[in-house]
Amino acid sequence: MTTTTERKLTTQKAIAEGIATEMAEDDSVFVMGEDVGTYGGIFGATEGLLDKFGPERIMDTPISETGFIGAAVGAAINGMRPIVELMFVDFFGVCMDQIYNNMAKIHYFSGGNVKVPMVLTTAVGGGYSDAGQHSQTLWGMFAHLPGMKVVVPSNPYDAKGLMIAAIRDDNPVVYMFHKGVLGLGWMTNNPRATGAVPEGPYEVPIGKAAVAREGTDLTIVTIGLSVHKALDAAEDLEKTGISAEVLDLRSLVPLDREAIVASVEKTHRLLVVDEDYQSFGMSGEVITTAVQGAFDYLDAPPMRLATPDIPIPYSHPLETWALPSVERITEAASTLLVAG
């Protein structure tokens, strides 16, 4: 990725800047959610916005997700472009009807006459012992249900560009930020959580994967925080002479199937790393895409390393064991290299 400036931001600040950029341009953009005002968002995604835009456009809400996400839908179909925050994706269960049955389907039901331009932001991911109701990613589930785009930035540059693209999109976009890539002061962070971000507006197109690292021996397809784990694993693998390509999907809907197939055609081996639950989700979809698009190129059955089908456990050793790790990725990649 070429950057036009050396100014560096954390992913969290890049998200807030993306929102601010569009709010300054477009009066119809506003933000709603729990603790998005004075607090600036529990994960800082709306930091500084209340001061810039005031309480009419940065609105703290009661703990009424069905109410305020549904209200965002109503505002969107009446000419606004709301950004609405679901504090943790894990809370989707109290408000999913408004998301999947209403926000995501009105455009279709109306035969294209009614647009629902809104962004649903939400924090995803585990790794810090927040247990089973605050650590999920659930992107496979959102991607399974039609009518909403689903984006998951892994770095500051993409975070700002995808946010701007999401706000400008005429469709509902679910924007999932992984807590582990935000560069928060109070969490262990990958060094890549801070990076160069241009000052002005720019878009990262929704639906295009990025080759986060080129390689020739196998392809690791992943998303979110696991991109960084895969990159770290790729560095380790390089030491043993294995050249891993890392594909950062960046969005699940639309899914960049061409990029998956192209990479597998090149490397002949596929490992999918997914922090979401293993079964009936992203890992199966990516493998199916590769198998159907590059069957004759595969030298070994594709592998996957995902969170097993268990609630995310609280205790540190349990959670660490359950979530994908650099070591496990390295191990899986090494196994894959000799398989087939």
Partner: protein, 334 residues
């Protein structure tokens, strides 16, 4: 209250139009499903929720509306849509699943969406309530004096969305009127088996907003209460909750054996059919004479017939068009 004559007549006309429309839908719904009823078969397959008897609830707000006002309605939406002036041809075409329908045949009778007038409905209980709150937020942001009306059944008043929506609307003093159509039943479940207190309008106090009960299924009573509630919202004084006692004359959906309501109940209910009662009153008060009524009848029947004909003459959508309209600007790739 001194109600302009044209409002009285307009409400009557609209009631007649609604009833005629639903009678025709009902006829055609069953036309090719009998003798062995098959929900999937015929000109109009699928569930069909008709609102015969609930016309007063819909027409009473009609004279108070202005362009741009938003309405969200329920799974039983026709009466409200017609009262707001949704294009009857396109609405009929949607119900018949045609390309010329409001949603190109994708939505159907529970998913009617119109931009002008600003109407939407849904198949999920309570789903439209937060949407009305959001429409009102948009009006506030844009500085218009439009209002949003949210219709829901008495059964919906026990869904979480009711609570969250009323609290939000009151907290933010938004121009919303919440209208509970109390037809005493949610499918087979009577209100006493679903609601811990007799009148939902009393729940307004939990949100610090006015709650008004309209005890009769009468367009004039609804007109008066809705006039005040809409005016209040329009002048920026915040939301209201209105509950209207009404009757669902037919089954919950067409094909419902309606065995959960006694024959006496149904007979009594039919005897107080609001169109007959209101028509008699207009006659008695000299607002209309028999000739006026006959010509209204004729005109409304003609409007409905034209819509039905438009719908039935319209083509079905091309099968592959199922892939269109998921996202603005692109089809889904298979």
């Amino acid at each position: 209250m001194d109600i302009p004559k044209d409002h009285l007549v307009d409400m009557y006309e609209t009631m007649v139009k609604i009833r005629r429309f639903e009678e025709r839908i009902r006829e055609l719904y069953f036309a090719d499903k009998l003798p062995a009823f098959d929900i999937a078969a015929g000109l109009i397959p699928g569930e069909m929720h008709l609102a015969a008897g609930q016309e007063p609830v819909a027409v009473g707000m009609r004279p108070h509306l202005k362009a741009g006002d938003a309405i969200t309605a329920t799974h039983r939406p026709h009466h409200v849509a017609i009262a707001q002036g949704v294009d009857l041809n396109k609405m009929a075409a949607e119900i018949f699943g045609r390309e010329t329908g409001l949603g190109r045949g994708k939505g159907g009778h529970m998913h009617l969406f119109s931009v002008e007038p600003n109407f939407g409905c849904s198949g999920i209980i309570g789903e439209g309530m937060p949407v009305a709150v959001g429409a009102a937020m948009a009006f506030r942001h844009k500085g218009t004096d439009n209002v949003a009306l949210s219709y829901f059944g008495e059964g919906a008043a026990n869904q979480g969305a009711f609570h969250e929506s009323l609290n939000l609307a009151s907290l933010w003093k938004l121009p919303v009127v919440f209208i509970c159509e109390d037809n005493a039943y949610a499918i087979s479940v009577p209100k006493a088996a679903s609601t811990a207190i007799p009148d939902n309008s009393d729940r307004a106090s939990a949100y610090g907003i006015p709650g008004v009960l309209v005890g009769e299924n009468d367009p004039v009573a609804v007109y008066e209460v809705m006039g005040e509630a809409i005016a209040r919202a329009r002048r920026g004084d915040g939301p209201s909750l209105v509950e209207i006692k009404t009757d669902r004359l037919w089954g919950h959906f067409e094909g419902d054996a309606d065995a959960y309501r006694s024959e006496e109940f149904k007979t009594e209910m039919n005897e107080r059919d609001p169109i007959i009662v209101y028509g008699n009153r207009l006659l008695a008060e000299g607002v209309l004479n028999e000739a006026d009524m006959a010509s209204i009848q004729q005109a409304m029947h003609d409007d409905v017939e034209a819509a039905i004909e438009f719908a039935m003459a319209s083509p079905y959508p091309a099968p592959e068009s199922a892939l269109e309209d998921v996202f603005a600007g692109r089809s889904v790739q298979l």
